[in-house]
Symmetry: C2
């Protein structure tokens, strides 16, 4: 039984870190950046979080926020599912919950940025499958040969 | 006599705010966001600043930083010249100083985002004149009919 919970507490940090490490996708500095967003949220608020939990604890998480310079754009910063819980459509369910939450808050567009490296091919396919359109590809943004892909969905 | 100074102190905040208000370009929430970056810098560091000062005080400022997710990309967040000091090529000089600073820190690409509204036409022309290329235009990003223009210069 998986439930979706809004917001995080200090007790969730270990579970979030475990998810980030479980995929083997992320660089150490990326994991640290995600955990800094969690620390900032606990300290000062300002980011929205959704957690998926089952009887073992946190199995997926997402964080997102309104873009400070836009009247109606929101940014999805992170969405990740624990490796052991893959292939259960949790990502799709979580993304749907994010969309419902930001729409309720007045969002007209949700933006998602991801790497264009082949490693992220399944990630891009996931966004496309869920109605996101590639709006731009910024050459060599993350590193030489590693472009930033910018996706969006208009509500 | 205008000099370029690296970094800010609490005594510079008023001058920075005056510059932001002098153009009439910026929304109140944009001014607040710029001043929050200044406060964060004074509290915790993390952003780079350059100020241009003459005998009257701060006449131009810029802030920028390394992109946390990239090995070699830097972002220019703000560059602004006081209305009373326009048409003296201070912007060009300041942009050159920023480029020298980030190149020294290992930057390979400097990214600049700006609004595509007609009001910002001269801003876009300024970036183009200084060697920046439009890489993407994100429709309706800031608001309906107000796209985000993404420029970059590769060093």
């Amino acid at each position: 039984m998986v439930e979706i919970i809004k917001g995080i507490t200090a007790g969730d940090l270990k579970g979030i870190e475990d998810i980030l490490r479980s995929s083997g996708f992320f660089y150490e500095f990326e994991i640290e950046t995600a955990l800094e967003i969690a620390d900032d949220t606990l300290d000062r608020g300002g980011y929205s979080w959704l957690l998926m939990k089952d009887e073992d604890g946190v199995v997926a998480f997402a964080n997102y926020g309104k873009n400070a310079f836009s009247t109606h754009s929101w940014d999805l910063y992170w969405i990740a599912v624990h490796e052991k819980s893959r292939h259960k459509k949790l990502g799709k369910e979580l993304l749907k919950a994010i969309e419902d939450d930001v729409k309720e808050a007045g969002a007209k567009i949700l933006w998602i940025e991801t790497s264009g490296r082949p490693l992220y091919g399944p990630t891009e396919a996931f966004y496309q499958r869920n109605g996101y359109t590639l709006q731009a590809s910024l050459k060599d943004f993350y590193a030489q040969g590693d472009p930033k892909q910018i996706y969006s969905k208009v509500f």
